[in-house]
Symmetry: C2
DNA sequence: TTATCATATGAACAGTCATTCATATGTTCA
DNA sequence: TGAACATATGAATGACTGTTCATATGATAA
């Protein structure tokens, strides 16, 4: 039974030494989970669009909503997710709250993604 | 009403010129969608783990299942998604099918992600 | 303080998705 | 050909997620 991990296509595959190598190099469960969570944040076109707007300037929630033709509530919910992932930061200015990119990793990651889909 | 896009926090925000700048730089709808779809593929810890295994070697489905302690079916379903996104490729060798990374974008994207979560 | 503006948030609903189970496809060997 | 192995796949299910709606919080100005 392969599912039980006892043995598997023994004549062809590397198996033993491969398993050792793989488990040695594999990051910890928590890191893998955090990594997936991070990319999950990029995996929504609304959030991608928000990030592209923030590439251009620091923008308040209200203008973001207008730029993307979405409700203020929907934008605000997504901004919360982006902020939890530390992809954006914000500052208050009177009644408005301005959002901007947290660091350059955002540009780098999206840049790599663009390269891949433009092949 | 802000939701209707007529006017918005006029005294504070850049508004008009910002909107022009943003819409000029914003990629097309299709590109934004493709980009989100790509990151969605990275946004699952099972697929991340598969990719990490493939960082080390070309591996058959059966060994992947054992390395990750998952059923062959679950791994196969995820491999299909990875292949559709052109992140992995495969070749047949007898009864087995070996999977490997499609190109170096995968390493680059995951590398950027790792940098971000290791802050 | 009160009214208004800008933003945040909780609940609910609809759509999406990863896994499981059963089964199909395709290869090798006897 | 038939049996065993390796992989793929369709349907079903439970869990997750983005948007909407209603409302709450927080700030400004009169």
């Amino acid at each position: 039974m392969h599912q039980n991990g006892v043995e598997c296509c023994e004549s062809v595959c590397v198996h033993e030494e491969l398993l050792q190598k793989v488990t040695a190099q594999m990051p910890k469960e928590e890191a893998l989970y955090d990594l997936a969570e991070l990319f999950k944040v990029f995996g929504d076109s609304t959030r991608i669009r928000i990030l592209f707007v923030l590439f251009e300037a620091e923008v308040c929630v209200c203008d973001l909503a207008e730029a993307l033709q979405m409700t203020q509530s929907a934008v605000s919910h997504q901004l919360k997710i982006l902020k939890q992932a530390k992809l954006v930061k914000n500052r208050r200015a009177g009644k408005s709250i301005f959002y901007s990119l947290a660091d350059d990793h955002v540009r780098a990651i999206i840049g790599q993604g663009l390269e891949h889909i433009e092949e």
